[in-house]
């Protein structure tokens, strides 16, 4: 690794970050973290993608398939958002905006699932003999 990689322990972060600003001129809120952590997440994302691909390759079916697909999907999404997009290190005010707001979409998804079932049953009853 380069000497330029700043790996400060959290204990003296207060001083380190002002030193940061002085040497690197990074603006407030600038995100700088050890490269090691990015590489680990990168590897992890590859592994998780391979796992979700394996679900299809081995033709798993039913509840096991759906559970695994959703599990790998959420893990990947979580790592990308928290580490690559730095949300893990943001302040709570921003975290809440980013993570809580999209939860309202669960209402839409729930309603549309019910609506879809209803439409399906109506079609079965009216058109399919």
């Amino acid at each position: 690794m380069d000497q330029a990689v700043v790996q400060h322990p959290p204990a003296d972060a207060t001083h380190a970050s002002s030193a940061h600003a002085a040497t690197h001129g990074s603006a407030e809120g600038g995100q700088q973290h050890p490269i090691r952590i990015y590489l680990w997440i990168w590897v992890l994302l590859f592994v998780l993608s391979a796992c979700s691909y394996m679900v299809d390759y081995f033709q798993l079916h039913g509840a096991l398939r759906w559970t695994l697909i959703l599990l790998f999907m959420l893990l990947k999404a979580g790592f990308i958002v928290s580490i690559f997009m730095h949300v893990a290190w943001e302040r709570l005010a921003l975290k809440l905006v980013i993570l809580v707001t999209p939860l309202t979409l669960l209402v839409l998804i729930g309603l549309m699932a019910i609506e879809g079932d209803y439409t399906f049953l109506t079609r079965i009853a009216s058109f399919v003999r």
Binding site: P10, S26, G30, W42, W66, L108, I124
Partner: protein, 242 residues
């Protein structure tokens, strides 16, 4: 979490508070409205460009969720059989059908590009111009190859398999419209991202951000690129694997 506390900025002087008019009277017109709305407060201790990018990404989340939800709705409600994506997107290599091969490669490419993007942000904050620009151009190049593969996939589907937005030989007609809308919109995002990253990389190279005094634009561009990868994670799981 002392680290988090330390990135909290000092209060920045705002040009006009509500009472900063002549003789300490409230400002009128648009200046007054701006002063009232901003109220001398900063909610998010991040560069404004980053806050705006996040708000854009949240609205984009709503758009993509609407697409994926409508796909879910038509897939639940159709009485015809849904074409099996595992077979539709299989690729024949050396005489054997490998399911979803191209899609798997595209997924790996996007993840690789996300990794190079994260490194670019890191080198940006280290003020390493050459490496930052090189990594940004690499990320953009991966994006181009992704779009090329998508073009190949669309061609295969339209020309060889006869998939149209209004129907296809394999089953439910809604398969085509969902597929073209979702992947098309995602592909547009990747294309836009490639242009965005190329502009940022060029500016990194000619020292624009050194003169500006901050490399936060690289991080903001990174947010957009990671989001494109994030959307693909959901499309891959919900459309291709489901």
């Amino acid at each position: 979490m002392t680290e988090q506390a330390s990135i909290r900025p000092q209060p920045t002087p705002v040009l006009d508070g509500p009472m900063d008019g002549p003789l300490n009277t409230p400002l009128d017109g648009f200046r007054g409205a701006t002063a009232d709305w901003s109220a001398d407060k900063q909610a998010f201790p991040v560069p404004w460009g980053k806050a705006m990018m996040w708000i854009f990404l949240i609205s984009d989340t709503f758009i993509f969720t609407c697409f994926l939800t409508s796909y879910m709705n038509v897939r639940i409600s159709t009485t015809e059989v849904w074409p099996n994506p595992s077979e539709v997107f299989a690729l024949t290599v050396g005489g054997t059908d490998i399911p979803l091969l191209l899609i798997a490669i595209m997924t790996m490419i996007l993840i690789t590009s996300s990794g190079t993007m994260a490194m670019a942000v890191n080198f940006g904050y280290q003020r390493n111009r050459k490496r930052t620009a090189a990594l940004l151009f690499t990320t953009a190049a991966f994006g181009v190859s992704f779009v090329c593969m998508q073009a190949f996939e669309w061609t295969k589907l339209i020309v060889h398999e006869g998939v149209r937005p209004w129907g296809n030989p394999m089953g439910a007609a809604q398969f085509g419209s969902s597929f073209f809308m979702i992947t098309g919109f995602h592909g547009l995002h990747v294309t836009g991202g490639v242009i965005y990253l190329s502009v940022v990389a060029t500016r990194v190279l000619n020292g624009f951000y050194d003169r500006k005094g901050t490399y936060e634009t690289v991080e903001i561009a990174g947010l957009y690129w990671h989001f494109v990868d994030l959307v693909w994670v959901f499309i891959f799981a919900l459309f291709y694997l489901w």
